[in-house]
Amino acid sequence: MSVYEFRHTESPQAAADWTRRQIVMTDLRAVGGRAYPRINGMLREPSWVFFEILLPFLATSAFVFVYRALQAPPQYVGFVVLGGAMTAFWLSVVWMMASQLYWEKSQGNLELYFAAPMGFMAILFGMAVGGIVMTSMRAAVVLVVATVVYGVTFEIDQWFLLLLVFGLTLAALYGLGMILASLYLVWGREAFQMNQLLIEPVYFVSGLNFPVMNLGLVGALAIATIPLAVGLDAMRQLAFVGSPFPVGTPSVEVEIVILIAMSIGFVLAARVMLAALERRARRDGRLSIRWQ
C-alpha cells in the first residue's frame, strides 16, 4: 500500500457505508478534535488571564460596590458574586458558541466542516467543551476571589443538588448556544450584531445582580425561557439557604425540571434547526459567502 492509501476498501460504495459504531466514534473524535484548538489556544496566548479573569472580576466588583453604596444586606453581595461567575458562561455562549460559526465562515473553515463526514453537532459540542474548560477557570476565580475579598458567606445544605443544578444550567446554556449558532449560519452578520442584544437585556431579565422574582411577570417569563435565569435562581436558593428573606422562586425542584426540559429541548431543537438551516444555507449558497 502506498503512503497515500490509508484504508483499503473494495469500492467507494463500501467506503461510504459506515457502521453505526464508526459514525458514533467519528462524532466523538470530532468533539475532541474541535475542542483541541480552543484549549490549546488558551494555553498559548496568556493575555486571556488578564482580560478573561482579572477584568471580569473587577466588573463584578462594581456591582458589589453598588450594593454597598445602597447599604444593602450582605446576602446581595453574594447574589452579585454568584451572578458574576455565571456571567462568564453566558458570555462564552454568546461569543464563543453563537458567533463562532460566523467567524468560521468568514475564515473559510465552515465549508471544510460541512464537507467532512462527522455530524455538525459534534463540532458544536467540541466548541462547547473547549469553551467550558476556559470559562470554568474564569468563573472559579471570580467566585473564589470575590468570596474571599468581599467576605461572602455561602450556606449550602445540598452540595450534590447544587452541582447538579450547575451542570444542568451549563447543558441548557450551551444547548441554547447551539441554537444560536445554527441561526448564525443563515443570518450572517446580522446575527453577529444581535450578540449585543443578548448581553445587557439578558443580564437584566435573568436577574444577574438581583433575585429575578423582583421582576414579576418578566422574571417569571425569564425563568421559563432563559437558562441563565432559572439556573441562577436555583443556585441562589441552594447557596444561601439561611437567608432571612426570599431568595428565589419557584422551588428548586421545579427549576430542576425546567432545566432538564431546557437541556433536552435545546439540544434537540439545535439538532433539528441545524439540519434545517444547513439545508437552507446550502439552498441559498450561504455556507461560503464571506462578510455577508
Binding site: 484548538p37 480552543r38 490549546n40 489556544g41 496566548e45 493575555s47 486571556w48 482580560f51 478573561e52 482579572l54 477584568l55 471580569p56 473587577l58 466588573a59 463584578t60 466588583s61 462594581a62 456591582f63 460596590f65 453598588v66 450594593y67 454597598r68 453604596a69 445602597l70 447599604q71 444593602a72 446581595y76 458570555l91 461569543w95 464563543m96 458567533s99 467567524w103 468568514s106 475564515q107 473553515n109 473547549g130 452578520r189 446580522e190 450584531q193 449585543q196 442584544l197 448581553i199 445587557e200 437585556p201 443580564y203 437584566f204 444577574l208 445582580n209 438581583f210 423582583n214 421582576l215 464571506r290 462578510w291
Partner: protein, 326 residues
Amino acid sequence: MAVTASTVEQAVTPVAGLGSPEWGGFDPSRTEDRGSGETWRGFRAAVSLGWQMQANWTDPFLFFVYSVAKPVSAALILVVMLQIISGGNDPEYRSFVVVGSALWSLVMAGLAGLAWSVLDDRERFRMLKYTYVSPADFLIHLLGRGVAQVGVGAMGAIITIAIGIFVLGVPFDPAAVDWMGLTVVMVLGLASILAIGVMLAAVCLQTRQESWSYPDAVAGALFLVSGAVFPLAVLPLAVQWIGLVNPLAWWIQGVRTAMFPGGISSIGGTGSLWTDLTGSTAPDLTTTVVVLLVTGSLVTLAGTTIFRISERRARDRGLLDRTTGS
C-alpha cells in the same frame, strides 16, 4: 550606478514625454505630505466608513433597537437594584445611576469601536494591511471609525436619559443646565474615551481573535473606578486614587454637575478621598473641567504613545496581516 547629485536630481526631476505626469508618469510631488487637508479627508472617510459598517447591516428599526435595548437594559438593572433596596424612595440616586449608566454606553461604544475596527479589519475583511499602507495615518483612520461608533452610542445615551426623565421619574430642569459647561465636558470626555480606545486597539493589534471580548472586560474594570453607578467614596481609599486620576470619572462628574446641579457627586461626598484632600464636599464644574483637561491630556498622550509602540511592534513581528482564530 553611483549615487551622485545628478542622479538624485534626475530622480526628483519630473520626466518629459511619456514619463511626464500628464501621461501618468511618476510625479515626485505626490510623495510629499499634503498636510492637514489630507488628514481631515482621511478622518472624514473613516467616519463615513465606520458609520456605513454600523448602519448598513440591517433595517433602521433593528438598528434603533440595538441603540436602545442595550443601554436602557443596563440602566434598568441598576434601577431595579435600587428599587429593591430603597423601595423607590431615592429619586436622586435613581438619577445618579440612570445618568451614569447612559454615559457608560458612550464609553462602551468608544472602546469597542476602536478595538473592533482593528479586529474586524484584520480578521474578517483582511483590509487592515491595505488601510495601513495607504497614505492616510492609521491612527487617524481608527479615530474616525471610533467617532462613528461613539455617534451610535450617543443615540443610546440620549434615549436612555430621556427614558429616565420621562418614564423613570428622574428629576430634570432644563433651565438649570449649564449648557456651555456640558459642551466642554463632553468634548473633553469623548477625547478621553477615544484615547482609552486607542490603547485598547493597540493591545488588539498584538492579540488574537478572542480579543473581541476585551472591550467589555476593560469597560467592566473601568466601571469600578469611574463613579458611574456608585460614588467613589464607597471604594477603599487606595482604590479611590485610581478614580481621581481617571478622566472618565471626572467626565461623568462634570456631566452630572452640568445637567443635574446639586445632585449626588461621584467624586466627592462623605468618606471620599476628594473631601479628605480638599475639604470640599464636591468639586465644582470649573475644577472638574480643569482636572478633566489634565487627566485627559495625560491619557491622550499615553494612548498615542502606546499605540505607536504597538504599531511598530506589530510591523516588526508581521502582525498586521495575520489571521488567528480558534
